[in-house]
């Protein structure tokens, strides 16, 4: 029998009354790629945080290489040869690759020796694992895929034998993700052990040897990857059968509801993020915007909804133009029937410190239904919030609860309920299911399609290609601030992936 790199035995961890991990037993075999899947809040991150020393388990035992280990801080974990690549990179943007790699592992005050040593070590690692990065490049000038490579190099430089990757493909194009998987396979062949945390079942099927499924703090199953299916894993994750792709009829597109014309947007540094784009969304259709994060989708959404001032451009709402270059007010656009579910629900779409009912009027707090002169009509607001809670199955069903205490999926439902129940003509949605669990994804997708079938114009921006393909009647691909292609919902992933990577665009330009 193969030797276990890590054994977790009877791990328990509670936060207050919530048991994030209960009696977790897990054995990760040396030299394999082991996937851990589960919905948000299933306890994957907590478990990995215990393994990496961010939290201590309330009870249970960790064994590394067969020896009982006490991991009280990330330093202990590193000393035991455990490295972690976080979902959000822990890099200093204005340092070079080399400086980032040695950060925290400097051995002398003047750095000269550390740097010289690190350079030769880095070159060896790069050769050995095919992880080419220029050691003197500045991090912020590198594409995301390479930044991630630096994170992996950091872990290897510290002698990691066991590498934990937390949602590593969230920010990558399909091509970059494929490249990452090749690197991981190579690392495996060199004898490293890899733990991959993800909610993308396709990735699990593609590269793991073994997969463990978590649900509500417990480890519900461990399977050999080649002996399981995506459907089985999805069912194990949610505890019931789920539709991975929502059923929908043909779109019956009507007249143009939303027309974006010659939109150009610059960010705060003056870099052009959206470059003269125009498109229409018609009544009764869902238009999906695909693209790798950071190609101008966020800025486009903010400009169309009036949050960010555009350099040029206008939107036509029901035939009436609204200039986006002036002080276009989100309130005015809202009054004209444009509802917006922002990408960042934590800071934009919701005030987490508010009670649920207070968030259910955010942006509509001028509506006379909720007011009594200058005063808030508390009863009306709470009744309205309770209605939405019932209609959208928001849990827990308590409109006085602080919004921060709802799960990601339920927070998203709060925003969706607020925006959809205003019966807008146009709905624009950024990342409809980011950080939302599988069960709620199904619900949200069904709602969006119901909006479409009521004859609304729906614009969806998402970095999840599966989501775009499943929802959209037309797909626009954004790359470097431009729309580089339009495809139907039957477009293959490979085709869209190439567009997202800007390949065809570059060829056309040459």
């Amino acid at each position: 029998m193969a030797q276990a790199a890590i054994e977790l035995i009877g791990i328990n961890k509670s936060f207050g009354a919530v048991r994030a991990n209960r009696d977790i037993n897990l054995e990760i075999v040396r030299g394999t790629i082991h996937g851990i899947v589960g919905e948000n809040g299933a306890g994957k991150s907590t478990l990995m945080s215990i393994l990496y020393g961010f939290y201590q388990a309330d009870s249970g035992e960790i064994r590394v290489g067969g020896q009982p280990a006490s991991i009280k801080s990330p330093n202990d974990a590193i000393a035991l040869g455990i490295g972690m690549v976080h979902q959000h990179f822990m890099l200093v943007d204005n340092f070079t690759v080399l400086e980032n790699v040695i950060l925290g592992a400097e051995s002398d005050a003047l750095l000269k020796k550390s740097i010289a040593k690190a350079r030769s070590e880095l070159e060896r690692l790069e050769r050995e694992y095919g992880l080419e990065v220029d050691p003197d490049a500045i991090i912020e000038e590198l594409p995301v895929g390479l930044q991630q490579r630096v994170e992996i190099l950091k872990a290897l430089y510290r002698g990691a034998e066991i590498l934990i990757l937390d949602e590593p493909t969230g920010v990558l194009t399909p091509a970059e993700a494929d490249h990452l998987f090749r690197i991981l396979k190579q690392l495996k062949e060199q004898g490293k052990t890899i733990v991959l945390i993800t909610h993308k079942l396709r990735e699990i099927m593609a590269i793991t040897d073994t997969v463990s499924v978590m649900r509500q703090g417990t480890m519900v199953a461990t399977r050999e990857t080649r002996k399981t299916t995506v459907e089985e894993l999805a069912e194990l994750m949610v505890g019931r059968r789920v539709l991975l792709r929502v059923e929908k009829g043909e779109a019956e597109a009507g007249g143009v509801k939303l027309a974006v014309k010659n939109l150009t947007v610059k960010d705060s540094r003056g870099v052009t993020m959206v470059d003269d784009i125009s498109f229409d969304v018609r009544a009764g259709e869902i238009v999906g915007i695909a693209g790798v994060a950071g190609n101008g989708q966020s800025e486009m959404l903010e400009a169309i909804s009036g949050i960010r001032r555009a350099v040029s451009g206008s939107v036509m709402l029901d035939g009436k133009p609204i200039d986006l270059t002036g002080a276009a007010d989100p309130g005015e656009l809202r009054d004209r029937g444009l509802a917006h579910v922002p990408e960042d629900r934590h800071h934009v779409g919701l005030v987490l410190a508010f009670e649920e009912n207070e968030n259910s009027i955010l942006g509509y707090h001028d509506d006379p239904r909720y007011l009594w002169g200058p005063f808030l009509n508390i009863d009306a607001i709470r009744d309205d919030a309770r209605d939405k809670i019932t209609k959208y199955d928001i849990r827990p069903a308590d409109c006085r609860l602080k919004t921060a205490n709802f799960s990601g999926g339920n927070q998203q439902k709060i925003v969706l309920a607020r925006e959809m129940e205003q019966d807008p003509g146009v709905l624009i949605v950024g990342q409809p299911t980011r950080g939302v669990d599988v069960g709620a994804i199904e619900f949200i997708h069904k709602r969006l399609i119901a909006m479409r079938d009521q004859g609304k114009a729906v614009l969806v921006v998402s970095v999840e290609l599966d989501e775009i393909r499943s929802l959209s009647d037309r797909i626009l691909v954004m790359f470097a601030g431009r729309i580089v292609g339009e495809r139907g919902p039957e477009a293959t992933e490979g085709e869209l992936g190439l567009l997202m990577a800007g390949v065809e665009h570059r060829e056309a330009a040459e």
Binding site: S49, G217, D329, V351, F354, D366, P396
Partner: protein, 379 residues
Amino acid sequence: MSTPYAKLPAWADYGLIPVINLLVAFVVAGFVVLLVGENPFRAAAVLVEGAFGRGQGIAFTLFYATTFIFSGLSVAVAAHCGLFNIGGEGQGYIAGLGIGIVCLAFDSVLPWWLTFPIAIIAAAAMGALWALIPAYLQAKRGSHIVITTIMFNFIAASVMVRALVGYLKPPASMAPQTRTFLEGAQLPKLNWVIELFGAKIRSAPFNISFLLALAMAFLVWVLIWRTRLGYEMRTYGHSSKAARYAGISETRIIIIAMMISGALAGMMALNPTMGDQHNVALEFVSGAGFVGIAVALMGRLHPVGIVLAAILFGMLYQGGAELAFEMPAISRDMIVIIQGLVILFAGALEHMFRPYVQALFASLSPRSVGMEAVKGKGA
């Protein structure tokens, strides 16, 4: 990594934790008393006795508290909108100019109950205008409100010296203060209320502006939690991005919140001028604007908490004066030390004891600790 703070019951959150913070502040202050060679327990007894032992003390305690309620509310209103108004001192001081002009103009012709409303408006307007300039600079130019309001404290001080010495002082007088107001600008005392309970009061400046302070506390509660404006202020205070998304104008909300805050700071000047000294003198605010910061923090930015915290600080002021008299080794600076410790423990280290209290509650009864969804990672 999210910090897994379990929720506490409201009474522990708003009652127990401030009390623990306060006790720790007093324990540390006790060591300071010990250092200067006095008995901390006797010092505490003198302090409490001085503040609440006799009718006289109670009246003085409430007199000081009146000013602190206004300044605490001022800080709280701005804080709910995410602004740190550190300029209550200057806004209150400059309001004295408005009060002085109104009182000097009307005290011989109008009764107090007509002068008072005019003076309230003048004080509020002066305070609001003094806050308007920093607010405008913050909203339009991004000049940080903490810096500008501090600077405006100094400008207010200079303006008041010029006004008092140059214009408001009677020509023959050597003192930099207005003449004494006539009866038409003297607020009635409330000492009789305390005497109803059988206490004896020789003379104390506890006056009707205390009732105005309580009314303002109620109105601030209504404003913050029951009006659209308050909703917009709180939205902006928690997240400027969410406010922008909700169509709330940043410029408008900053300016309005700061002007209300300034108006409340301005009203604190009524108590020492019309209520006590019956003149406007140099430095009459004497730090009450800054005490407001401690009061607001201690009171968790809630009007009820602020009234209680203001009474606590009134007690420190009144009891502290008695203490300095009884124990010459302890000067009035001692009170400043205690005040500093309260700010340190109630404000800066607000959450220091929270995890322990939460652990205690969790171990006592897991059910009383609310459900905190376990958030692995946000997005």
